[in-house]
């Protein structure tokens, strides 16, 4: 394809850049990578414990592991409920849970890394240029069309 035709230039600018912005925004939204965390907590039967890795969080993993200080692995649904959307553990009243008991919650948080955030901080402001590109290409196309009319 030649760059010579102003109409094709405009088409390329609009098509390519029009697809680029939503595509790259979606890529950024799903660029989180799973990172393992452990958090100490105190069992609060009937209550909730919030795990917080809020910065650049995409979502939490759908499974966690909870161990009490004496090494007992607690069972999901029976001993606790994990809410992966809110990042909360709701403690159930069971034979393995006691109020005030120390526990360790191991969980996964999908987060964007510092490099990804840097890349986004550099790339996203450039999206503002795309409108300018489309404008310049439009003006050139219009100018070229007018020139052709007067040449005849």
């Amino acid at each position: 394809m030649s760059d010579g035709d102003t109409m094709s230039q405009l088409a390329v600018v609009i098509l390519l850049l029009g697809l680029a912005v939503p595509g790259l925004m979606t890529a950024y939204d799903f660029a989180g990578t799973p990172i393992e965390y452990e958090q100490s907590a105190s069992v609060d039967v009937g209550g909730e414990t919030v795990v917080e890795e809020g910065t650049t969080l995409e979502n939490y993993g759908d499974e966690i592991s909870v161990r009490t200080e004496n090494g007992t692995e607690l069972a999901p649904y029976r001993d606790y409920q994990w809410n992966e959307t809110a990042g909360t553990v709701t403690w159930a009243d069971s034979a393995n849970t006691t109020d005030g008991q120390n526990a360790t919650i191991a969980y996964q948080a999908h987060q964007r890394t510092a490099v990804t955030e840097t890349a986004w901080d550099v790339i996203s402001p450039l999206f503002g240029l795309f409108g300018l590109f489309a404008f310049v290409a439009s003006v050139r196309t219009l100018w070229s069309t007018i020139a052709e009319v007067f040449d005849r």
Partner: protein
């Protein structure tokens, strides 16, 4: 999770697009090739931390540490590609001198 094969595939397409505007066809399709290479490099820079190699056992091996430097390189090349795109729009790339030389070589080239 982005499979390593997909990441490599996009990298290859992006490198081909880059070679198109930088080496192979400097006076042709610069909008398309520099645009594709910008989008490609930007994507490589953004999703690099999410790339994993899936083992035969089905467990993903995350390559975020390995690809962190690739992300920085891709980011730099994305900026260069967008710069080329802008220069083409301003008729500054390829330089008029280069363009005249290539026109002599290729008399059938279409006019701008």
């Amino acid at each position: 999770m982005t499979p390593l094969a997909l990441y490599f595939g996009v990298a290859v397409v992006t490198l081909i697009a880059t070679s198109a505007w930088a080496i192979l066809f400097q006076e042709r399709a610069v909008y398309l090739s520099s645009g594709i290479s910008f989008v490609g490099y930007a994507w490589l820079a953004l999703v690099g931390a999410d790339v994993a190699l899936v083992t035969t056992g089905g467990d993903p091996v995350w390559l975020r540490e390995t690809l962190a430097s690739v992300q920085y390189v891709a980011l730099a090349l994305a900026i260069v590609s967008l710069l080329v795109f802008t220069l083409r729009l301003l008729d500054a790339y390829p330089s008029p001198q280069d363009e005249n030389e290539q026109t002599t070589d290729q008399p059938t080239r279409s006019t701008r």
